[in-house]
């Protein structure tokens, strides 16, 4: 089918946004999308930004129709650790009805499902039932640094009644899932500097601070033994879970067994007093995404490294401000560090958490579209991931966002062997068509 061919083509671009050595591949992916959308009859523009390009495409907007902005991203996560991929990460490979490739589920599979739904409708009817604006960016995996300024600069051109995004998950195969909340994010990298040179750990060990030890000690001050974050003020203002949410999430079945099976972790570990779903969807975290320092090779090297680092990301929930969390974290880490090391703290991207009312008119329209596509009971969930741009749509365009995800729990987003079921590509095409029908006035 042509949707599958399009997806395979799109996947072959190694559009890793965080690493500048993939800049040419990322641009090639954007240019391919522009040519695809133009070919469908949409008025399509590639907009330069200080980073990767933004693509905007529109049908002819008519008075009296609802305007829907459909957002997606064509950039992908890095592929490391490369050795764990069963097939090359940028060579899409089909096994057991799933397409394996970096970006298969996050976000190219879901993006191409919508594009293909639109292409079918346009081919059949010559137009769409709504005024549609497509907005595709290439910097979602690095926190969309240029998209909010872009929205601000193109506020008129992008004006819409609401936004729809497929970049989230389904609770299980075949279960239509409406995501009404997301966690926010705030990233920081901490470098711990000690001596100006690597030192012999025999000659100097015992008299100078070891930056690797000190980095570890700093990380060790972030949580109590049960995983609760110890940064003073971290939980201030955090919105409590509502009773209907706790009940409805319990009804989704045994999340603990599923998470154990999906992760292969020896045991679960999380904040006391919350179920694992509540921990993942509605409680904030502090995670180490990378730590390093000293000798990394085979065998031993008896060295005191001159520096060490750790990369942190905080997942945030309604009531927490990302910049304030970084302020608190930085102040706390600096207060914990002894004067025998020097901290260098670099702030990374941030994004607000998001929450909408699933029982609002647009929320109900989304649920009807999911019902038409998947049948059965629709799951109402929040998600632990972050799509910072959702808050920007609210702030700049004044629009709520419908999150209608197509990823399954075992699609391995961000991990080796990322994959996307062909069935979900097909369902996504129908979902796109049902959604636009439901939103037509």
């Amino acid at each position: 089918m042509s949707a599958l061919d399009d997806l395979l083509t799109c996947l072959r671009f190694a559009s890793v946004s965080t690493d500048s050595k993939f800049n040419a591949d990322t641009r090639a992916c954007a240019e391919w999308l522009v040519s695809k959308l133009t070919g469908m009859g949409l008025t399509t523009t590639l907009h330069e930004t200080p980073g990767h390009p933004v693509i905007v495409a529109k049908n002819k907007h008519l008075e009296g129709r609802r305007t829907v902005l459909l957002y997606g991203h064509y950039d992908v996560q890095p592929v490391e650790p490369l050795a764990e991929w069963l097939s090359p990460p940028f060579e899409p490979t089909i096994r057991d009805g799933r397409i394996y490739c970096r970006g298969a589920t996050d976000n190219k599979g879901q993006l191409i499902a919508h594009v293909s739904g639109l292409a079918e409708t346009l081919a059949e009817h010559g137009d769409l039932p709504v005024n549609l604006t497509l907005l595709f960016e290439g910097e979602e995996e690095i926190g969309s640094p240029n998209l909010k300024p872009f929205l601000q600069a193109h506020r008129e051109e992008l004006a819409c009644d609401l936004v729809a995004i497929s970049d989230t998950g389904m609770v299980a195969e075949g279960v239509g899932t409406f995501t009404y909340g997301l966690r926010g994010i705030a990233c920081m990298e901490v470098k711990v500097h000690g001596p100006t040179i690597d030192l012999h750990s025999g000659i100097f060990g015992g008299a100078v601070a070891n930056p690797a030890t000190m980095a570890a000690r700093l990380v060790g001050t972030l949580h109590d033994a049960e995983g609760r974050v110890l940064i003073p003020g971290f939980y201030d203002g955090v919105r409590d879970l509502q009773d209907w949410e706790r009940t409805s999430w319990k009804d989704l079945g045994d999340g603990e067994a599923e998470t154990l099976a999906l992760t292969g972790a020896p045991a679960l570990f999380g904040e006391a007093g919350y179920t694992e779903r509540e921990c993942r969807w509605a409680r904030p975290t502090a995670e180490v995404n990378g730590i390093g320092g000293g000798y990394q090779g085979e065998g031993s090297k008896t060295v005191i490294p001159r520096e060490s680092f750790f990369k942190l990301s905080f997942r945030l929930v309604p009531g927490q401000n990302p910049e304030r969390i970084l302020d608190l974290a930085e102040a706390y880490l600096r207060a914990q560090a002894p004067k025998s090391v020097r901290l260098e703290i670099k702030r990374g991207h941030t994004g607000s958490s998001y929450l909408m009312d699933p029982h609002s008119p647009y929320g109900l329209a989304a649920q009807r579209a999911l019902q038409a596509t998947f049948g059965g009971q629709i799951a109402l969930i929040r998600e632990g991931g972050s799509i910072p741009i959702v808050q920007a749509f609210k702030d700049v365009l004044g629009a709520d966002t419908l999150l209608l995800g197509l990823a399954l729990p075992d699609c391995q987003a961000h991990a080796p062997n990322e994959n996307f079921p062909i069935a979900n590509l097909e369902a996504g095409i129908r979902l796109n068509q049902a959604l636009l029908r439901e939103l037509a006035i």
Copy 2:
């Protein structure tokens, strides 16, 4: 001069013993030494071992002479971080009277000084004043795993009255230094396993243990805030410093200022109640030589890594048994780890600490040789580094070891830009000759 030429030749061999990709260079270095020693008229044998070869060379041993075993090692540390070298690590480069190259001071410069001293004496007199056995190995930097078995297997052939080694430091330029004690060592690598795959930190963060965080937390349990090791039993039996040692070390001048200048550390950091020299020379430590896990590249990657590691080495002092320390450390770390991660602990090399009486007859002979070479007051010190084989010489051959180091504090052993002064090469030649004269009966 021919000694300098010989040293430059020896330095060009990239004899990194810990990394098997340098095996051919390490062997080539051994073979060059065999040919050099044979050419000097010594009976020289290259002995195969399960690892890198051992070289034994002798003059003709005569009844009634003292037998001296001179030990050295031709292997070197890895060169990482490569970017910090001002000249290529295996291309010896002379700047301001110093030879810059990996191994320049540890141990090739000191080894070649002795070889050159012997060569001169042999050329001039046709023999040496003692029965000499040279024993050079290629595994000192990985803990000499095959040398103790070699000593045991060749106990008769290696029988000697005493051992001499130049593989330690001088307290300052031109100050003859006799080292009468060394710290021991015990290494271990700890891997922390969590989920079976890298996880999206948004989707799963908060419900599973993060192996990078847990590795850091484990490291964080090793010390109190002042650097004292918290492993129960770690300090049991540790021999107290003697009053004459504390006094004599204080007389060496301001160690704190020197260590700050040498290391460039923002401040010193060490166990309360001990001077920095006491911390480095006579107190045990637990150091992280390497830590790693998760994303190591540019930018951020919001991942929970499936595993993380840290490499530990303990420096030990008289009264501590290396194997027992590893037992205690392993039990402690396993007790600290939550059941949400799995620890994999691999033990590395160990070596006992060493202590001899500097006022014994051989100790006094060594001091006279140093006096003849350098003049002035001779410094009596212990060192923080480890030469595990020194204990093996005591255990297997029943011989004490004289440690007559030629390294200056800023020779950067184990670090980038390792170097050795040409003046110390020349002094080492004279020291070799003076020592053999002093030890002749």
